[in-house]
Amino acid sequence: GAGVSQTPSNKVTEKGKYVELRCDPISGHTALYWYRQSLGQGPEFLIYFQGTGAADDSGLPNDRFFAVRPEGSVSTLKIQRTERGDSAVYLCASSLWGGDTEAFFGQGTRLTVV
């Protein structure tokens, strides 16, 4: 596609529910990143995929968070038993490959846990 697409753009869920956030990267980009951004803060790294595999998942805050990229393209970030503290904008970015190529960000999914 023309850019990185994230769906949904907004998600309101109740505490304790399960949510899935989807990211469609730019076609041909092998690297894919998930970040979380709270108001007034910089993007906080969650996980980085190179192809289908998670090259670095050290930013996932706990085992309620999980992400997959089964075919090396679309990625899904899954959050179980959501908590109010999970509320944030979840940003996805892709780049041609890792290393020193620029990252293109999607518009983000604003998650609100009530």
Binding site: G40, G42, E44, Y48, A55, G99, Q107
Partner: protein, 110 residues
Amino acid sequence: GQQVMQIPQYQHVQEGEDFTTYCNSSTTLSNIQWYKQRPGGHPVFLIQLVKSGEVKKQKRLTFQFGEAKKNSSLHITATQTTDVGTYFCAGRKGAQKLVFGQGTRLTINP
């Protein structure tokens, strides 16, 4: 782990004044990237610096990478209202994750 610190957190200037934001890493970086995020928007890539001591210019923006590849700066000359936004540096070590600073939010009095 790798940390990237950015100062100041906020900067308010009169239109036409200069603006500088500074970025410091706890570890030596392979490269550093700068992004701009407009209010309500997503980060947009501005530039990447790779070499020690590198200086790059984009019109009124000047980007520098320190000799030790642990710090960087972005300087805007004669700010305009279109420069409003939050500027982030993001550092990478090798082929590892891209770590963002907290950003400097620039507001401008027209």
